[in-house]
């Protein structure tokens, strides 16, 4: 699932490790989510959204609205 995690992280000058620490997951997980190789669960998606002060839809692109697919 496409997302804006990398951009949002760069805006805050956070490394993947910083984001991983904030979310209490591994850097490997952040990398997998950021690159679209893993879709987070709803609780983790909410945690990510709350961390950035955004809604889930502002971070993740719904697969049904992803025109590239």
């Amino acid at each position: 699932m496409k997302n804006r995690l990398k951009v949002l992280r760069a805006e805050r000058d956070w490394s993947q490790g910083d984001l991983a620490d904030a979310l209490q997951v591994s850097r490997q997980s952040v990398n997998a989510i950021e690159t679209g190789r893993y879709d987070p669960s709803l609780p983790l998606a909410f945690k990510i959204a709350e961390l950035f002060g955004l809604t889930i839809e502002q971070i993740f692109t719904s697969p049904s609205k992803d025109t590239d697919q």
Binding site: V25, S26, R27, Q28, S29, N31, A32, T35, Y38, P40
Partner: protein, 136 residues
Amino acid sequence: MSVSVAQRRYNKRVIVLSLIYAVALLGAVYGFKHHLLTGPIAYVAAVLPALPIIGIFAAIGLYLVEEQDEYVRMLMIRQTLWASGFALSLTTIWGFLESFDLVGHVESYYVAVLWFGGLGLGGCANRLTLGRGTAA
């Protein structure tokens, strides 16, 4: 790469269980080789080496319960699926070959060896399909 609390606990449990397995196996082999074990004690001694292996299966289950990182947990679940598919497939093939007298008998506890080998295969499959997660 940092190791989670659950992974540390899992590693510790597997190391302890492996040591218990080695002691139980050596003890059972020694006891049977020197004809020290008879009657019900022989059955107990023969089953003893199996218990730490069962413990390792339980340790994997506990790890899946305790791991808080859902992505890492999913990787382990994929590994166990690979392990089960690999071990069941090979033992099924071997079973048919054995029933038609084309190959010799193999002790059934080797299914555990195949399963642990399958975990390794699953780890390789994870890396091939999902990468190592090292990109910046």
